[in-house]
Amino acid sequence: MWYLLFSPACCAIELMQTGGPRTDLDRFGMVFRATPRQADVMIVGGTVTYKLAERVRLLYRQMSEPKYVIAMGSCANSGGLFQKSYSVLKGIDLVVPVDIYIPGCPPRPEALCEGLLRLRKKIMGEDWGAIAAAREPRLKGQPAGEMAD
């Protein structure tokens, strides 16, 4: 499982730590990719403003199926500390579908690692054929121009 080298705000520091020697994602075969075309999972770690949300959605659309999203930390889950703000999106799930929510402000590297392992467990139990069939109409409904953005 390759994760996208991307994070909007300060949870990125914990994301970097998770790749470091203590939790060491490499031992699970998880490495970062610097392009959404090669990534399987996007870890949204941080406050997402409306301005940024459109970029997050663009990155999500550029990822190839099957693709997964982890909402890392309070801000990505619900807007967190900034949910009363005029410019902050109240949860990344209003823009892209989320598979795993990790609470915390920020979550510790162990928590992110646990989240990634839960996601792996979830993927192992998936009937991909059925999911692809269910997603098909949605993909067809999306105009080509919008996919390229």
Partner: protein, 164 residues
């Protein structure tokens, strides 16, 4: 020379353009007539004995009946910060730009325009600084109403636990 002495000096030099000092402690400020702000800032910057060569910030304050713009100036030689304010009309706040006096003012004025809708006349490039260009309204104004959607993204969400 402390802040109080500088305010005294300003009032002596511009008796009809600078009005009374208000506030206490470090928040003390002097009110300047909007049309005189350029003149006063040039005087503060260029007088050798003062040397306010650093514009620390420009910001806005919404008082409901009026909009104030605050200018914070620092003198490194005197080690002192002073605060100048102009009072503007709430419906159509307009003041001359100071970006040709302090180039740091350029982005500060753009930010104040973005969040308070203050128009800085003569500014070289008065666009929004932080918010998207198609944003409606100026969110730090007291009469700002949040739109229910921005680009089809809802700006509210249901409380998860039934608590708000």
């Amino acid at each position: 020379m402390n802040g109080e002495a500088i305010y005294e000096q300003l009032r002596d030099r511009f008796p009809d353009k600078v009005s009374e000092t208000r506030g206490q402690g470090p928040l003390k400020c002097v009110y300047v007539k909007p049309e005189a702000i350029e003149e006063v800032l040039i005087a503060l910057r260029d007088q050798e004995t003062l040397g306010f060569r650093h514009l620390s910030f420009i910001s806005g304050i919404d008082l409901k009946e009026a909009i104030e713009v605050a200018y914070g100036l620092i003198s490194y030689s005197l080690k002192v910060l002073i605060l100048l304010k102009v009072t503007l009309d709430h419906e159509n706040p307009t003041v001359r730009t100071v970006s040709h006096i302090f180039s740091a003012a350029n982005w500060h004025e753009r930010e104040t325009f973005d969040l308070f809708g203050v128009k800085f006349e003569g500014h070289p490039d008065l666009r929004r600084l932080l918010l998207p260009e198609d944003w409606k309204g100026h969110p730090l104004r007291k009469d700002y109403k949040e739109e229910p959607f921005y680009h089809e993204m809802p700006t509210t969400r249901e409380p998860l636990l039934g608590r708000s």
